[in-house]
Amino acid sequence: MTSVIPFVRNEMLPEKEPPLRERGVVHWMRQNLFSGPLNTVLTLLGLAVLLWVASHVLPWLMHSVWNASSLTECRDIITQRFGEGATGACWAMVKERWHQYLYGFYPMDLYWRPNLAFVLMFVAIAPVLYTSLPRKMLWFTAIYPALTFWLLWGGSVWTPVVAMLGFVILALIFRALVGKLGVPVSAGIGVVVAALWWMFAQGPVSDALQAAIPLSITTVDSDQFGGFLLSIVIGVTAISASLPMGILLALGRKSDMLIVRTLSVGFIEFIRGVPLITLLFTASLLLQYFLPPGSNFDIILRVIILVTLFAAAYIAEVIRGGLAALPRGQYEAADALGLDYWQAQRLIIMPQALKISIPGIVSSFIGLFKDTTLVAFVGLQDPLKGITTIVRADINWKGIYWEPYIFAGAIFFIICFGMSRYSMWLERKLKTDHR
């Protein structure tokens, strides 16, 4: 039987560099590119694919033409410079038409208005995301929709102001009654009164105000909206308008009242079960059957409404996930403190659930934003197909096809990719917020 030989180290060994083959570029390549037969094959395959792509795309890109007034001219220039049979990109089209891709037919001298609205959007979102900002900024968030509406569509300033008054009335009535009648009833009465205001007082009051104090800017009609402006207007409006609806639907789906739950589930599953394009066709083809005879409003508005319903179903599912992630204890603590259902939802549950849901909401938005290209199928000027069709109908650019797709695709990529990265960053940041 061996006995243990005691051992004591008195001098500690110093740290040493790893042997040469474990360091340097060669090591890195061996480790990361050629660490085995399979990896070597993969690396070679990857290189081959890269080379193949480059050899096909690069010449075309190198032969780009930036200044020309028509496709024919582009082709001539390319033949001239690079010889017979050379092909190249004709970015001259983009140079001439880029503003239509971004703004559609929005009057050029008014571009500052959508630009301003776009910049202000970030100011409006900021206080929602960053609780460290002064709470007063939320007031700006509240008036932002009206402000944007006015900036984008123009006209009398009183129209959005009076419309906002409807919300103010709703809020006042709600506040006055909520103590006595509870949330659902007072909210219901508020909504009814506000709706009456919008239906009957909106027009006369804003006209009267406009007559008394004329304050207006140039009107821009919806049919002049197009390109990314249209996509962003539809996307942003639909997502923000769908949030409250999504919250209600998510609560409905979690409710223990059978009928409420069934209706919520039915709505959500119906919307999620049909392609967006059929809903768009509903907006353009079927709404005329479902609305009272004679009612007729803007196709963009109709599309926004249907897209909002669509987004609401998806947002509801996202928020449901957020709700599920909340421990039961939060509900119980709220109950034990004597908060009622709506107080608990508003003060305790929703702030937390929404925060958890931010990444999901952002990815719904990205999905929706990409899907706004489908409005081309109902005749709106989306940046991908709608504007491109128009450009191709121009006798100068008839027959161009890669460039518009690459241009619009690149912008989509930048926006969507940027947004997804931002939301990942935000998620990390919000997680450590309180540590």
Binding site: P327, G329, Q330, E332, A333, D335, A336, L337, G338, L339, D340, Q343, L347, I348, P351, Q352, K355, H434, R435
Partner: protein, 259 residues
């Protein structure tokens, strides 16, 4: 607990009834959790409820502020009967404070906001005033300096003390504790128990589910032992621990104290 001289003289029990539970039964589906529970709690009493896991202790105290609904029998809290009337429920809840095992602080609100939320929204107290009350109670649980931090930044013991302060801010007449220390590390348990002892000394009516027998001996004026949804034995602490009557109590105590 012994280290501290506990002043039992202040802990007066009055004759007024705070909670009256009579013939109360509760089922979860088919499962009979609480069976014919009868219990009278007087103002100022400090009752410790103990018993094996699953014996219905939590369920019992959760029935008292209607986090669970009972199916038969009566519960009268401070003169208000717990029925299906929402108004009564609201009234009872605002008189009864509850502290949970897992604290259940609201992580998105600061400590101060946690404490002022219910006073402002339920009691409709002006914010300024609510904050003053909150600071008062935070001082009492000895963490006024944490008022502007978030729950996530505090240790478990501190969080539980905040939870107690939060309940106190509603100025409840009765406090319920459901295993307030069992999710805590040993070092932190003492902080929380000290706070509870202080509360007891001020004459608060308390029902506390706990297995801290030291606490029971030092503070409780009555120990209730439950098993299988029934109250098996109750007695004042000294008698209860030294001279348990029922076999089940004996078995349970030997297990608990044997540790």
């Amino acid at each position: 607990m012994a280290e501290q001289a506990i002043d039992r003289s202040k802990m007066k029990v009055s004759d007024e009834v705070a909670i009256q539970i009579s013939n109360m039964n509760k089922w979860y589906g088919q499962f009979h959790v609480l069976r014919d529970v009868n219990m009278t709690v007087h103002k100022g009493e400090r009752i410790v409820i103990c018993g094996p896991s699953g014996s219905g202790k939590s369920t019992l105290i959760r029935c008292i502020n209607r986090l669970e609904e009972h199916q038969s029998g009566d519960i009268i809290v401070d003169g208000t009967e717990l029925t299906n009337d929402l108004k009564n429920i609201d009234k009872v809840r605002s008189e009864v404070g509850m502290v949970f095992q897992h604290f259940n602080l609201f992580p998105h609100l600061t400590i101060l906001e946690n404490c002022t939320l219910a006073p402002i929204w339920v009691r409709k107290i002006p914010k300024r005033e609510a904050e003053e009350t909150a600071m008062h109670f935070l001082r009492k649980v000895k963490i006024p300096e944490q008022a502007n931090k978030y729950p996530g930044q505090l240790s478990g013991g501190q969080q539980q003390r905040v939870a107690i302060a939060r309940s106190l801010c509603m100025k409840p007449r009765i406090m319920l504790f459901d295993e307030p220390t069992s999710a805590l590390d040993p070092e932190m348990i003492k902080e929380v128990l000290d706070t509870m002892i202080e509360l007891a000394e001020e004459g608060m009516t308390m029902l506390c589910v706990t297995h801290e027998m030291g606490f029971a001996q030092a503070v409780a004026n009555r120990v209730v032992f439950m098993d299988k949804g029934q109250i098996v034995e109750q007695n004042e602490p000294r008698e209860f621990f030294n001279n348990p009557q029922s076999e089940r109590t004996k078995a349970f105590l030997s297990q608990i104290l044997g540790h």
